[in-house]
Structure formats: structure tokens, C-alpha cells
């Protein structure tokens, strides 16, 4: 069953906290990973890998570079779940 936007956001918050040590409550939809959360490209790869484990959605490197904000990832996971 597809996850709600809120569930994806909560899961993503846990991942970002675990990978980059950014508290989950700061992981809000409008935040930019690089500019607001100070997350670098290698941490983004770790987040993508963890997201794959958690949501069952693959985020390849060529897609990852387009995901700038938290909302971008949430939307990507939602869309991928729909087409899966």
C-alpha cells in the first residue's frame, strides 16, 4: 500500500537524522538539502541508499542530482510508488 506524504516525510526525517545527524524535526518540505541542511553529495548518496531500503524505491545518481529539496524526494518516492 502506498505511503502517505506524511509517512514518507517522517521516514525521510529518520534517515537524514541517521546519515547526517540533522534532527528529524528540521527536515521539513521546503528545506534544501545542500543550502539549509548542510548535506553534501556523498551524504545524499547515503540518503538515497537508505531511502531505497526504507521505501523500496530506487533513486539512481542521475535522478538524485535533481532532488534539491525535501519535498523533491517526497514527491519522487510518491510518484515511484504509483508507477511501481
Amino acid at each position: 500500500m502506498a505511503m502517505t506524504e506524511q509517512e514518507i516525510l517522517a521516514g525521510l526525517g529518520e534517515i537524514v537524522d541517521e546519515v547526517a545527524g540533522v534532527p528529524a524535526d528540521q527536515v521539513t518540505p521546503d528545506k534544501s538539502f545542500v543550502d539549509d541542511l548542510d548535506i553534501d553529495s556523498l551524504s545524499m548518496v547515503e540518503i538515497a541508499v537508505a531511502a531505497q531500503d526504507k521505501f523500496g524505491v530506487e533513486i539512481p545518481d542521475d535522478q538524485l542530482k535533481n532532488l534539491k529539496t525535501v519535498q523533491d524526494v517526497v514527491t519522487y518516492v510518491q510518484n515511484a510508488e504509483v508507477t511501481a
Binding site: L42, E46, A48, D61
Partner: protein, 325 residues
């Protein structure tokens, strides 16, 4: 054929008798690099975890460094040069493709007419060479083997490329390998090795006029997702649970890769080698350098099990559990 014809009797297993490392004297700090390329100490520490590294001098060769490390390991073994039957040098950064490094190093060490070959499995080379050495001793084709990893990566790295010049460095590490005593368990466990040639273009030196290129993000993703199962397989084949490991010595590729693999290994008690902090990435030399330094500092006791994991260009990888001499 009625006889195996091997020059030595087959044995139940091999073990490391001694180790030795050599690092060039020239210490290069992050600030030194920041003075000539657009980077900073903070950036380098956070991305790859290196604080300082050693660069070979302009005249210092892969062979010179292999000789230094080999001499140290040989001295520590208590054997004489005449006891060595086989010399294997793992390297991917030689100045010339012939002659090979191994025969020249053997000659300079006074080892008479041993089997000698170079092995290129890039950063995984030392673990491949250790597996070859162990198998040769078990089969009786050699009694004592000198295994060396030696690299002058700076010869193949663009000094103005800030994505690679901050990581790679030079050095050599060596091990003398011999048979276990009758009734003793093997001190070099079965290897878990493999390759992924479909990813060959991710790390390359295209030709003799090119510098090393790597797709950092793709390599990072691969290393942090594909390697812990290889490490676990090596543990399983050796009959050692991850929770029993005294230390984990992965190839010193990047501190963040090493830490990510270690987290997934599930061996929190195992001391993690982080030699990259002051040695950089020395390709096939990184594992014997890190292991020998760990033993010299007294951090792992004789007889304790240590997991080695080599991985790099090819893509190729290999892991085995060894017993500390």
C-alpha cells in the same frame, strides 16, 4: 601421474609470519594542497577524512618502496632471503610495464631465483596476492612467500585535480607468508573475491598519458552497498563470527566509505583501521600499511582474527580473515 611433483609437501594452511611498512618521508598536509588547488583543510577532512599523507620523491619508484617494505617484513620473519620461493607484488602504478617489480625487488633483497610476478587488482591487489600466496603454500608450490603491495599513485594523479589529488598517496606494505605447523588451524582464511567489469569505467587510467579518473559518487554508492556482504562471506568461510573479530582493516579508500561499511558489518567491537587519516589512499599498499601499524602500536594481539577487505578499480574486490602473527 603418480606423484604431485610439487617441490614442497602440501600443507593444511598458511599464515602471516611478519609484516613491514614503508612510507616516504615527505609529509603533505591539507594546507599544503590548499596552497596550490582550490580546496581547504575542512573540506578535505569532511569529504574523505584525510589530514595528511606521504608523497614519494621524484626519483623514488614503486620498486624502491617495495624493496623497503619487503626488507622490513623479511627481517621481522627471522627467515633468510634464501628461504623465500615466491615474490608477488601487487601494484597498479608502476613506471614501466616490463620488467616487473617483483623480480627486481627479489634480486635486490638477495632472494635467489624465486617465482616472481606482479599482480594488478588495483586497490584489492594485496588481498588477491595473499590468497595466491596461501594457495601456493597449501599446494606445495612454494614454502615461503613474500607478498608486497607498493604504489606511487601520485605518478598517475593530476596534481591540479582537486577531486583526486587530495585522496591518493604513496607507500608500500609487505607480509611474509609461510605454512602453519602440523595440527594448527590456517592463519589465512578462504578468500571471498569477485569483480564487476560492467563498472570498469568508474575508475580508470585510460592510457600512459592520462591521469586517474573516478566517478566518486558512483564508487561511493557501490562501495557502501555491495561490500559488506563480501566481508560477511569471508567471515563465514573462515568460520569466524563478525562479533569475534579483533579488527577490521578495509582498503583505506575514503574514511566515509570505511565507516559506512563498518556500520553495516555489525562488528562494533572490532577495531577499525583508519590509517587513511595520516596516510591517504595508497591503493594496494593501504591494507598492509594499516595492519602493520596496528600491530606495531600493540592494538591487536598475536593470534587474534582480523578481517581484510580490498576493493577498487576493475571493479575488483577480495576479503579474507587472517590471524595476527
Amino acid at each position: 601421474m603418480t606423484s604431485s611433483g610439487s617441490p614442497f609437501p602440501p600443507t593444511a594452511g598458511a599464515r602471516i609470519l611478519s609484516l613491514g611498512g614503508y612510507q616516504p618521508g615527505n609529509v603533505v598536509t591539507n594546507d599544503d594542497l590548499a596552497a596550490r588547488v582550490d580546496t581547504s583543510d575542512e573540506w578535505i577532512r569532511s569529504r574523505v577524512g584525510v589530514v595528511s599523507r606521504r608523497f614519494a620523491g621524484p626519483e623514488e619508484t614503486v620498486t624502491d618502496m617495495a624493496f623497503e617494505a619487503g626488507a622490513k617484513a623479511l627481517a621481522g620473519s627471522g627467515l633468510s632471503p634464501g628461504d623465500i620461493d615466491l615474490v608477488i607484488v601487487a601494484t597498479c602504478s608502476t613506471e614501466a610495464s616490463i620488467p616487473n617489480v617483483s623480480a627486481v625487488v627479489a634480486h635486490r633483497l638477495g632472494i635467489m631465483a624465486p617465482g616472481a610476478y606482479d599482480l594488478n587488482a588495483a586497490c584489492a591487489g594485496f588481498c588477491y596476492a595473499m590468497a595466491n600466496a596461501s594457495d601456493a603454500i597449501r599446494a606445495g608450490t612454494a614454502r615461503h612467500v613474500l607478498v608486497i603491495g607498493s604504489e606511487k599513485m601520485t605518478a598517475w594523479v593530476d596534481p591540479t585535480d582537486r577531486s583526486t589529488c587530495i585522496i591518493f598517496a604513496d607507500g608500500a606494505g609487505a607480509a611474509v607468508v609461510g605454512p602453519v605447523a602440523d595440527g594448527e588451524p590456517p592463519g589465512i582464511g578462504p578468500v571471498a573475491w569477485g569483480s564487476a567489469g560492467d563498472m570498469a569505467e568508474k575508475i580508470t587510467i585510460a592510457d600512459r598519458d592520462s591521469f586517474l579518473q573516478q566517478e566518486g559518487q558512483a564508487v561511493f554508492r557501490w562501495a557502501t552497498t555491495a561490500l559488506h556482504p563480501v566481508a560477511l562471506k569471508a567471515c563465514e568461510r573462515a568460520g569466524v563470527a563478525p562479533g569475534e573479530l579483533a579488527a577490521f582493516v578495509p582498503h583505506q579508500a575514503n574514511l566515509r566509505i570505511i565507516e559506512a561499511i563498518a556500520r553495516k558489518l555489525g562488528a562494533p567491537q572490532a577495531l577499525l583501521a583508519t590509517d587513511i587519516i595520516h596516510s591517504g589512499n595508497t591503493s594496494s599498499a593501504s591494507i598492509p600499511l594499516a595492519l602493520s601499524a596496528m600491530i606495531e602500536r600493540g592494538e591487536v594481539g598475536s593470534g587474534s582474527p582480523v578481517l581484510l577487505l580490498g576493493f577498487g578499480a576493475g571493479i575488483s574486490y577480495a576479503a579474507q580473515v587472517i590471524t595476527v602473527p
